[in-house]
Amino acid sequence: MSHRKQVLGPDDVRRAVTRMAHEVIERNRGVDGVVLLGMQRGGVWLAQLLGSEIARIAAPVPIGTVDVSLHRDDIGLRPVSPGTSSDVPVEVQGATVVLVDDVLYTGRTVRAALDAVSDFGRPQAIQLAVLIDRGHRELPIRPDFIGKNLPTSSDEEVDVTPDGVIIIESEVST
C-alpha cells in the first residue's frame, strides 16, 4: 500500500505557473524570440498553461514539444516505447528555447532534451522551467524557473497534474 500526500492544490499550481510566466518575461526582457518546448509527456500540458499565462501578460509565444526517448542515456537498460514525437513549430536557430517539464529529478531527461533540441538547430539560449524540483540531481543541471522546491526521498514518487501535486510514499521501509 502507499501513502498519498497532497502538497499543492489546483490554485497553488495556477499561481506558481503565473509567477513563472512573469519570471520568463522578466528574464528575457519580453518574449521576443522565446519558444516554449514541453518535454514529452509530463511537460506538455505545463508548457500550454505557461504559454497561455505568458500570452495573457505579454504576448503569445510559439509552443511545441520535445521527445527525448531516442536521446536518453539509459537506452537498453529499460523497456522503451516512444509513442510521441517532437513537434518544434518554429526555427530554433537563434531562438531562446524554454524547456518545460513537470518534475526535475536526476537531470538525465533534461540532458537528453538538450541534445534533442540541438538536432533542430543552435538556439541563442536554452532555459529550463520546472514546476517541481525534487532534488537528487545526478548531473550538473539547474533550473532557471521553479514552481516549487520539494525535497523528497528517492523512495517517493511525485505525481503532477493541473489539479495539484501529490507525493506518493511507498510502504517500503527506509
Binding site: L70, I75, G76, L77, P79, V80, S85, S86, G121
Partner: protein
C-alpha cells in the same frame, strides 16, 4: 532469450501493433532537419546478404545509421557461398567481432532461424526464400495506415494482392500482417501461381476486383518463372494480370496502388505508376527506413523486454 524479428506470425499481434506505432515515431524523426538520433550508439548491425538486393540492403543500412549504430555489410552472390558449415563459419566469425544484430537475406527458407542458433545476436529476416519478408510487410502496413489516416485496425479494408503469390515471400508476409490487422485479402493470380492450399480468397479474374478494392498490391513477376511453364507467356500474363491503362482507370480514386519494387515495367506494370495519384510506391521506399528503424530499436534499444 534473444528477441528476433523473423516473421509476422512469430511476432504476433501485440508486437506488430507496437512496431507500427514505433514506425510512426521513427517517420517523424526522419522528417526533422537532422534525422539522426543517438539511440543505438555503440551497437553493431551486420547486413548478411546472400541474395541480390538494392533497396532492402540500403534501407537497413540507412536505418541503422539513422539510429547511430555501426554497420557492416557482407554481400555474397549466391554462387560463391557453399551451404552448411560455411554459412555457420561466416556467422560465427562475424559474431566473434561483436555483432548485436544480423540482418539476413538468403535464397533458402528458414536460414534466419538457423543463424539464430549460431549467435547470441538478434536476427532480422530481410527475406528468406519463398517464406517471409516481414519488414516489407511492416512498411506496407504502415504505408496503408499513413495514407488512409487510420490506426492499427484495418477491418473493412479490402486488399487485392496480384501476381506470383506462390513464389512470393512478400505476398506471404504482407498477407499475414494485413489479415492480422483485420483487413480482407484476395489473391489474384493464374491457378499455377497460387499456393496449393490457402485460407485466403482467390480469383483468376483481376477485372472482377480491380475497381472494387481499397488497395491493389502488385507483385513483381519474376521473369525466370515465365520460362518454367507456369505462365503461358509474357504477353498473355500481362493481358490478364498486369496493371494497364484500362485497369488503372478502373481504380477507385481513393484506392492505393502498391508495389514492393523492383518493378517490371511492361510485365506487371504497363502504366507509369508515378503518374497515378493512387500510387504509394515511393512512400513505401521512404517508410521502409522508418519501419526498419523501429525493428532495430525494438530489438537493440528496448532492454528488459523478456520473451
Amino acid at each position: 532469450m534473444t528477441l528476433h524479428f523473423r516473421s509476422i506470425e512469430e511476432a504476433g499481434t501485440e508486437r506488430i501493433h507496437r512496431l507500427l506505432d514505433l514506425t510512426e515515431h521513427m517517420a517523424a524523426v526522419g522528417r526533422r532537419p537532422n534525422p539522426k538520433v543517438p539511440a543505438l550508439r555503440g551497437k553493431t548491425v551486420c547486413n548478411l546478404f546472400f541474395e541480390d538486393s538494392t533497396r532492402t540492403r540500403m534501407s537497413f543500412d540507412l536505418a541503422a545509421k539513422r539510429l547511430s549504430a555501426d554497420t557492416m555489410t557482407l554481400a555474397v552472390s549466391s554462387s560463391s557461398v557453399n551451404k552448411g558449415e560455411s554459412l555457420r563459419d561466416t556467422v560465427e566469425t562475424l559474431d566473434a567481432m561483436g555483432v548485436d544484430a544480423f540482418v539476413v537475406r538468403h535464397q533458402t527458407s528458414g536460414v534466419p532461424w538457423q543463424v539464430a542458433g549460431w549467435t547470441p545476436a538478434a536476427v532480422i529476416n530481410a527475406g528468406d526464400g519463398w517464406h517471409a519478408h516481414p519488414t516489407q510487410a511492416l512498411l506496407d502496413a504502415y504505408t496503408i495506415r499513413q495514407r488512409r489516416g487510420i490506426a492499427n485496425d484495418f477491418s473493412g479494408l479490402k486488399v487485392a494482392v496480384v501476381g506470383d503469390i506462390r513464389h512470393s515471400r512478400v505476398a506471404r508476409s504482407t498477407t499475414d500482417i494485413l489479415q492480422l490487422l483485420g483487413a480482407k485479402v484476395v489473391h489474384v493470380a493464374p491457378r499455377t501461381l497460387l499456393p496449393p492450399t490457402s485460407d485466403v480468397a482467390t480469383t483468376s479474374n483481376f477485372d472482377d476486383v480491380v475497381g472494387e478494392v481499397d488497395v491493389v498490391y502488385m507483385l513483381r513477376m519474376q521473369r525466370e518463372r515465365m520460362g518454367a511453364g507456369l505462365v503461358p507467356d509474357g504477353g498473355e500474363y500481362s493481358r490478364r494480370f498486369a496493371l494497364d491503362e484500362r485497369r488503372a482507370s478502373a481504380l477507385r480514386p481513393d484506392a492505393l496502388l502498391m508495389h514492393p519494387g523492383p518493378m517490371n515495367r511492361g510485365v506487371e506494370m504497363m502504366v507509369d505508376p508515378t503518374e497515378l495519384p493512387q500510387s504509394t510506391i515511393l512512400d513505401q521506399v521512404t517508410n521502409g527506413i522508418a519501419a526498419r528503424m523501429a525493428v532495430l530499436f525494438e530489438l537493440l534499444g528496448s532492454g528488459g523486454i523478456e520473451e
